[in-house]
Structure formats: structure tokens, C-alpha cells
């Protein structure tokens, strides 16, 4: 029982960070229809930018805010330079362009920041775990989760109460109608990418605290995909819950299923689960049931 609760809690906490990255992904998809396979590299960029600011002496929270600003700028740039030209192209070309982008970003990151593992020094979160009852949680996970929730609330407020947020929601709902009402589709695309960069960036900075920043932090970008599938491609609360589900699935499978298999279940289980899940519920938990002609 104790083991189960500990895995569950750890899973939820880690899942919070996955959910943050998934949020950005779903946003891009909802607003502009682009399936973004470069999510891992966006996470990396955010992580490294935060690191650079932090090592220049700026306190952590301020570094995160600076990362947000840089994320906005980068998001708009990428959208204008690469993705504008692909409006109207079939889906496969767009996916491959994001793949090409991921290689491009990877090369640029390695060029600027080298491949050595870097750490936030002095460490931001203490190493000792916090004990809640008999459950030990390490500080990093707890604060990452808190920060992720905070960002969700900020985004939710943005979407619900601000003018631009409503415009984005309208475009995501029905693009032609929104265009007819005077919403600028290009602005919405740029904003979607900007928000994706921001959320992935903060997610990366938080994950980088766990174990140092290295190129392999980018591999977690792959885990975003089962998360969004489980939650439904079109739904933002779905993305959040999908991310948490993936975190929980990973931890529970790692704890319990590792005995039955030689090993390596943890990485693969979310994908296997997703495949089986899709056979029963092809649109995820909250996805729109629409026959999509791809």
C-alpha cells in the first residue's frame, strides 16, 4: 500500500510537468492544426536559456520570466519563418518540417551550449526530501508541480478573460468563423507557438533541476505524444490529465511490472497502453469525435 501511494504521488508530480509540455502541444494543434514533433527540443531550449540567465546571477524566478519572454520571441520567429509557408500543405509535410526543425534546434543548442551536462549551481532546491506522513517527496518534484499548476491557472485566466485568449479559443473552435469576425489567423498561430515555447521552456527548466541539463532531457518530448493522445488531441484539460496519467502509468508500471519482464517496461508502457486504448476509444478521453480526413 505504501509503495502504491508513493508511486502514485510521484507519478502525479512528474505528470504535472509532462502536462505542462503537453499543454503547449495541444495549443499548437488546436489553433493551427500543426502536429509538432519538435517538442523535446523546445523543452531543451527553455532549459538552457533559464540556465544561462541563472548563471548570470539572476534569481531563479526572474530567470523563468525571462525565459518566458524569450520563448515568446522565438515562437513568433519560428512560426513566421518556417510554418507560414506551410499553410495548406498536407499534414505529412508539416510533420516532417517539425522533424527537420528538431534536428536544426538540436544542432544550434549543441553549438551554443556544448554537450556537457550542466547543473544549476548553486542548487535551487535542497536535496533532502520532504516527508508527508510516510511518503517521501523530493523538493524538485513538489515545487515543479506547484509551478506547473500556477502556470495552468495563468493560462486558463488568459484564455478565459483576455481579449487575445478569447480570439485564440475562437480560432481553435472554427477558424473560418473567427476569420470572418476579424480575428487575425496569423496572430493566433504565432501566439500558439509562443505559448508552446513558453510552457515547454518552463517545463524544461523544471526538469533540468531534477538531474542536470543535457541533450537527453529532450527525449521526454516523445512522452508528450501519448499524453495528448490519451487526453484527446483537441482538449486542453485533456492534455493536463493526459500528462498526469502518463506520469502515473510510468511510475506504477515501473514499480509493479518490472518483476514480470526483464526490464525497460517504464519507457514503453505509456505507448503500449496508448495503442490498446486507441482501439477502444479512438479519440481519447475528451477529444472531439470528428472524422478527420488526413
Amino acid at each position: 500500500m505504501e509503495l502504491f501511494l508513493m508511486s502514485l504521488v510521484n507519478g502525479i508530480l512528474v505528470g504535472g510537468v509532462y502536462a505542462l509540455v503537453a499543454l503547449g502541444w495541444v495549443l499548437i494543434y488546436k489553433c493551427s492544426g500543426v502536429l509538432n514533433l519538435a517538442m523535446g527540443e523546445l523543452t531543451l531550449i527553455g532549459a538552457y536559456v533559464t540556465l544561462t540567465f541563472y548563471q548570470a546571477g539572476i534569481p531563479f524566478i526572474l530567470s523563468i520570466i525571462c525565459t518566458l519572454i524569450i520563448g515568446i520571441i522565438l515562437g513568433i520567429l519560428v512560426e513566421r519563418v518556417f510554418l507560414d509557408k506551410l499553410i495548406g500543405e498536407p499534414i505529412l509535410a508539416v510533420i516532417m518540417v517539425t522533424v527537420g526543425l528538431s534536428f536544426f534546434f538540436k544542432g544550434i543548442i549543441e553549438f551554443i551550449w556544448e554537450t556537457k551536462t550542466r547543473v544549476f549551481s548553486p542548487p535551487i532546491f535542497p536535496l533532502e526530501p520532504i516527508s508527508i506522513g510516510f511518503i517521501k517527496i523530493s523538493n524538485v518534484y513538489l515545487w515543479s508541480f506547484v509551478l506547473a499548476i500556477l502556470l495552468f491557472l495563468i493560462f486558463a485566466a488568459f484564455f478565459k478573460y483576455s481579449h487575445w485568449g478569447l480570439a485564440m479559443q475562437a480560432t481553435a473552435d472554427d477558424e473560418t468563423a473567427a476569420l470572418s469576425l476579424g480575428v487575425s489567423a496569423r496572430f493566433v498561430y504565432a501566439a500558439a507557438w509562443a505559448i508552446a515555447f513558453m510552457s515547454a521552456g518552463v517545463g524544461g527548466a523544471l526538469l533540468g533541476n531534477i538531474n542536470g541539463i543535457n541533450i537527453s532531457v529532450g527525449y521526454l518530448g516523445l512522452l508528450v505524444l501519448p499524453a495528448v493522445v490519451l487526453g484527446g488531441l483537441n482538449s486542453i484539460p485533456g492534455a493536463i490529465l493526459g500528462g498526469i496519467t502518463v506520469g502515473v502509468l510510468q511510475n506504477l508500471s515501473g514499480t509493479y511490472l518490472d518483476h514480470y519482464f526483464p526490464g525497460g517496461v517504464k519507457e514503453v508502457f505509456p505507448f503500449a497502453f496508448m495503442t490498446v486504448f486507441l482501439l477502444f476509444k479512438p479519440y481519447g478521453f475528451w477529444g472531439w469525435e470528428r472524422i478527420e480526413r488526413m
Partner: protein, 366 residues
């Protein structure tokens, strides 16, 4: 079905001529010349390194052929093809190493060819297994299930279970001399070259025939509008699964060939990156065309070589910056893919088709 641009004065008077592969004397001449160059000319003129390049091109083309079938002719986007190649490679290796062949099989050198065929069939069936979700899901979800296929197969099943058979380390190095086809032992570059071009030619013939037939027409119908195809009585699920099977079969052949190219295999040879690479080859060559596959493979392999050479030469000039250049190589490569897709979305085969039509329509080519 004659889709060939017939010149003036050439009439077909028999149905066989109309259905023929090569319908004009010019085409016959070109094709025979091409085959002569590939089968006779290259082996006589090339050196060792270029055979290695040709083997890579052939391997890429075999892999991309399967992907082209899935993407270009049935509209099923797949990002997990390297898994099926891996299945083929491991099946073939295990059959060669572990299966107790009767002695006369080994003497006659039949073990490897049989293992190639079986590897193809097994890979095809495995591909069908992961194609089953396509009965229910489409588009992006299919992409994800094929990605899941890649991870589950390579990162989990093969890495954890299959590669442990026989112990680690030396298990999947094939001792030299084991791979024999008939009386020839495949152990040098030139022999693998012959193997790959024979395989490639056979596969292309098979695929083109399939595409000319009812099956191919059904696939194109599914690609263009699957709901309409269903209403016309085409059994979509059957044809989709058939497509997965054929694509997997060709991937199995590619995997079995890979074993003879490098006499050792491990799961690291078939990463997700390779699946993406194959899709890139198909896109750059042109979706929906077979010679696009060949162009795409040649282009990708040569571009990688040229960039490497360029980086090395520049590295000689600026040795301090050598490592930095390597990173630039990565980003240049990514940028090249993006640029290609933005500026040449129809791929190399489209350009090729334009050039050919220019000649065909001259002097009215405008």
C-alpha cells in the same frame, strides 16, 4: 492501362503490347542500358568505397519503398518502419545462427536465401499486427500507433528479449562465411552490392506490378477518399492490411540484407531516427512515385557524404573549430530538410517528371 506518352506513328495492335512494361523502343533501349550499367558497368568501374555507398543507397531504397507504399499509395502515414526492418534482420540472423539446418542445406548454400524469404514474411505479419489499429484510427492517431510499434518492437521486445538469446555481446555477430547464397559467399562489398540490386529490382518489379493491378487501384482509391472507396465496394480494411503486409515484407527483405552488409546487428541499428529518415527520403523523392524512392535515397546518402566531406575539409583548415562544425552539420541537415519541404514540396520526382515532359513535348514544352 497505358499511361505512356506514345510518340507519333507508334500503334499497339495487340493487347499484350498495350499492357507491356516497356512500350516504345526508346524506353526499351533506355531500360536495357540502365540495367546494363547497374549490373555490369558499375561492378567493373567502381572501387570499394563507392560500393559501400551503393549498398547504403540500396538499403535506404528498400526501406523507403515500403514506406512509399504506405504513405504514397494508401495514405497511411507511418513513423515506425525501422521496427519492421529490425524484425526482418533479427529473424534472418536467428534463423542463420540458431536454426538446426540439415547439412545439405548449408552445403548448397540455401540457408540464407530461405531465411530472407521467411524474414520478409515474418516482418510482414508483424507489420499487419501493428496495422490493425488502422482499421479504427486514421491520420495522426495512426502515426502514433506506428510510433508505438517502433518503440515497443525495438526498444522493448528486441532489446529486452530477442537480443538476449544466446547471451550478450557476441550473439549476433555472424561469423564470416556463414552467409552463403548458393555457391557464393557474401563477404565482400561487391557481393553485397549484387545482392542489393537483385533484391531492389525484384521488389520494384513486384511493387509496380501490384500498382498496375486491381490492388494498386484500390490503394489509390483509399488514399484519395476512403469513404467513397468503401461505398464503391472496396474492402478498406483488407486492402490496408494488405498494404501493411507488403510494406512489411519489403522491410523484412531490407533487414535480411542488412545482416549481410554488416555481419553484426544490434538494436541500435534501428532507432526511431531511421524511421524518420525513411519518411524524409520518401518526401524528398516525391510522395507517390517509385522512382522518387530511388532519387530520394541517392540524394540523402550523397548529401550526408558531401556534408561530412565538407566539414572534414573545413576542419582541416580550422582545427580548433572542428567540433563546432559537427554541430553545424546537424543543424544544416535539419535546415536542408525544412528547406526542401518548403521549396520543393513535390519532391525530386516532380522535377524529373518536368524534365522528361520537356523532352517529350518539345518544341511545344511551355
Amino acid at each position: 492501362m497505358s499511361h505512356v506518352w506514345l510518340p507519333c506513328g507508334l500503334y499497339h495492335q495487340e493487347y499484350e503490347e498495350d499492357h507491356g512494361w516497356w512500350q516504345t523502343p526508346l524506353i526499351k533501349g533506355k531500360m536495357i542500358l540502365l540495367l546494363a550499367i547497374i549490373f555490369v558497368g558499375f561492378p567493373l568501374t567502381l572501387t570499394g568505397y563507392w560500393f559501400g555507398v551503393a549498398n547504403m543507397v540500396g538499403y535506404t531504397a528498400l526501406g523507403a519503398l515500403g514506406v512509399q507504399l504506405l504513405i504514397g499509395y494508401a495514405g497511411l502515414i507511418t513513423l515506425g518502419h525501422a521496427a519492421f526492418i529490425a524484425v526482418g534482420a533479427y529473424t534472418s540472423t536467428l534463423l542463420i545462427l540458431q536454426f538446426p539446418w540439415p547439412q545439405f542445406f548449408i552445403d548448397l548454400g540455401l540457408a540464407y536465401p530461405i531465411s530472407i524469404v521467411i524474414a520478409g514474411i515474418v516482418a510482414g505479419l508483424w507489420s499487419v499486427l501493428f496495422g490493425l489499429p488502422s482499421a479504427k484510427v486514421k491520420g495522426f492517431y495512426l502515426i502514433l500507433t506506428t510510433m508505438a510499434a517502433q518503440f515497443i518492437t525495438v526498444d522493448f521486445l528486441i532489446t529486452q528479449y530477442i537480443s538476449q538469446i544466446g547471451g550478450r555481446g557476441q550473439a549476433f555477430s555472424v561469423p564470416p562465411g556463414t552467409i552463403k547464397i548458393g555457391p557464393w559467399t557474401i563477404d565482400s562489398e561487391i557481393k553485397t552490392y549484387f545482392l542489393v540490386i537483385v533484391l531492389l529490382t525484384l521488389c520494384i518489379i513486384m511493387v509496380t506490378n501490384l500498382l498496375r493491378s486491381k490492388v494498386g487501384r484500390a490503394w489509390i482509391a483509399i488514399r484519395d477518399n476512403d469513404i467513397a472507396a468503401e461505398t464503391l465496394g472496396i474492402n478498406i480494411i483488407w486492402y490496408k492490411l494488405l498494404n501493411f503486409f507488403v510494406a512489411g515484407f519489403i522491410a523484412g527483405l531490407a533487414g535480411a540484407f542488412w545482416v549481410s552488409n554488416t555481419a553484426a546487428i544490434s538494436p541500435e541499428h534501428f532507432p526511431w531516427f531511421w524511421s524518420l529518415w525513411l519518411v524524409g527520403v520518401v518526401l524528398i523523392g516525391g510522395v507517390g512515385s517509385i522512382h522518387g524512392v530511388i532519387f530520394g535515397s541517392i540524394f540523402m546518402v550523397l548529401v550526408m557524404e558531401v556534408i561530412q566531406l565538407g566539414v572534414i575539409s573545413l576542419g582541416d583548415v580550422f582545427p580548433q573549430l572542428m567540433i563546432k562544425f559537427l554541430y553545424i552539420k546537424e543543424s544544416v541537415f535539419g535546415l536542408a530538410i525544412c528547406a526542401f519541404l518548403i521549396f520543393e514540396p513535390r519532391g525530386l520526382s516532380y522535377r524529373w517528371w518536368q524534365i522528361k515532359n520537356y523532352f517529350n513535348l518539345w518544341p511545344f514544352s511551355y
